[in-house]
């Protein structure tokens, strides 16, 4: 669900082994070799247990959303109250993360329709979170469907955050939100003027394209109103509250989101090979709505965020050992990224426990020459 600052240009990718455009050579290869829309590995879970895990409930998400809204409004009030003094800083930190980071997980879960049982509640939070993230709610619904169909399949997945060879400067800048801001805002404006790129057209059905334009126009209209209010008040405050948190508050989204797939295999059909589960502290898990159980989420996207810890307990015998912390995960990833600078096929192949069903090498022969275990 994390994408860094748009796609590389065609000129960029033509010189590289992997073509990350969604209408290029890698796309053709993925379709021809059956990697696109493939059947993926799933851990066996009895239907009765899975049915129980999939059950929807409004309770947990209503509770979390009330806490979320109260914290957002409270910190916004603190910013307004202390505006012009140094006391504003802690409120900016809290507000920024709630606005620029926790909105990502709300966007994600409500986009799947799993957070609440009641559909309109999912839709309402999805629209609000999309706005906070400067994401077109229509485009991103479809790009995320593609991400689940073709997770980290080069030329198919529209949400590959770190491409190979990794651009470490771009990854580092992502923590500031600058690159994403630079990509998201012009994209919204472009969509608002009716322009849909070939990449967007590759995963959005034609009958939905007009909705992309309508949604973008609403977003742009609100930003224009915020700018107008800032000019009227002759104060940055409206923009600090609307729009700019996407810059100063997205660091936690990047911190957690980067770990989802970075350094792991691409072009495989087993989420155990390309996705990572990381144990996290309770605050990060609240902000991230349990998406640290990311292998579990990709294998079974029907399971709501509040049931993911239970799913994890049920299937962990079949998954690689989770990273015990974000720090551990980044320490594991760093040398892999450095090696990928020299040799982009290199990746981290995580060891399975003896209780797990082995990786099906015959399905992954297309990847892979070098893996670190």
């Amino acid at each position: 669900m994390l994408r860094l600052a748009g796609r590389k240009s065609e000129v960029d990718v033509m010189e590289k082994k992997r073509d990350y455009s969604l209408v290029g050579e890698s796309t053709r290869i993925a379709i021809e070799t059956g990697l696109a829309s493939a059947e993926w590995y799933h851990t066996d879970v009895p239907r009765k247990a899975m049915k129980e895990l999939m059950q929807r409930s409004d309770g947990p998400a209503i509770r979390d959303t009330i806490i979320w809204i109260v914290a957002i409004l409270g910190s916004a009030a603190g910013i307004a109250w202390f505006w012009g003094t140094w006391w504003v800083v802690p409120f900016l930190l809290v507000y920024g993360v709630l606005y620029g980071s926790s909105s990502d997980s709300r966007w994600h879960e409500c986009g799947h329709g799993t957070a609440f049982r009641t559909r309109w509640m999912n839709d309402a939070v999805y629209q609000i979170a999309s706005f906070m993230l400067m994401r077109n709610p229509v485009t991103w619904r479809w790009s995320h469907a593609r991400h689940h169909t073709d997770t980290i399949i080069v030329g198919r997945d529209a949400e590959i955050a770190v491409m190979r060879p990794p651009d470490l400067l771009r990854a580092a800048l992502a923590f500031t939100g600058v690159l994403d801001f630079r990509y998201s805002l012009p994209t919204l404006v472009r969509n608002a003027f009716g322009s849909i790129s070939p990449d967007e057209k590759s995963f959005i059905p034609e009958m939905e394209l007009h909705k992309v334009v309508t949604a973008a126009r609403w977003h742009v209209a609100i930003y224009v109103a915020a700018i107008g209010l800032a000019l009227y008040l002759w104060s940055f405050l409206p923009l600090v509250l609307i729009g700019l948190p996407r810059l100063y508050g997205s660091w936690h989204m990047v911190l957690t989101g980067l770990l989802q797939h970075i350094g792991l295999a691409d072009n495989v059909t087993d989420h155990r090979l390309n996705t990572r589960t990381v144990y996290m502290n309770p605050i990060s898990r609240f902000i991230y709505w349990n998406m640290n159980y990311h292998v579990e989420h990709h294998m079974f996207p029907m399971v709501p965020y509040h049931a993911l810890p239970r799913l994890h307990e049920l299937i962990k015998h079949d998954l690689p050992e989770p990273n015990p912390s974000m720090w551990h995960a980044y320490r594991e990833v760093w040398p892999v990224l450095l090696k990928q600078l020299q040799y982009e096929d290199y990746f981290l192949k995580r060891e399975l426990p003896p209780t797990a069903r082995p990786y099906r090498d015959e399905f992954h022969a297309l990847t892979v020459p070098a893996a670190a275990e």
Binding site: S37, K51, R56, G113, T114, V138, A145, H148, M302
Partner: protein, 104 residues
């Protein structure tokens, strides 16, 4: 004339649940609603090739396990992105404890 085919026993599918039924090289989904009625649709989601029988039944909705696309399984109507194409439905009757579906 379409044939009536035995899909399963009435107790093979739990209330508010779905099972898969394969016949003649095709796959179907057989539903039992919360008010104990039976319904049948195509087995694959119209968005991408995923078995709806692995999904979740809530009231009169079947949710696809792959992308959470939703259909009304009684009418086949798609209920929003990422599903845009309706699902084919089939007539169902219950006879002597068996669920029969009419396949065209």
């Amino acid at each position: 004339m379409a044939d009536w085919v035995e899909a399963c026993g009435v107790d093979d599918v739990e209330e508010e649940d779905v099972i898969r039924f394969d016949h003649g090289g095709r796959t179907f989904a057989i539903y039992r609603s919360p008010d104990d009625e039976y319904f049948a649709t195509d087995g694959y989601c119209t968005h991408e090739k995923a078995h709806l029988a692995d999904g979740l039944v809530m009231d009169d909705i079947i949710e696809c396990p792959k992308h959470n696309g939703r259909f009304n399984y009684k009418t086949g109507v798609a209920r929003g992105a990422p599903v845009c194409v309706n699902l084919a439905t089939y007539p169902v009757k219950v006879e002597a404890g068996k669920v029969m579906i009419q396949i065209g």
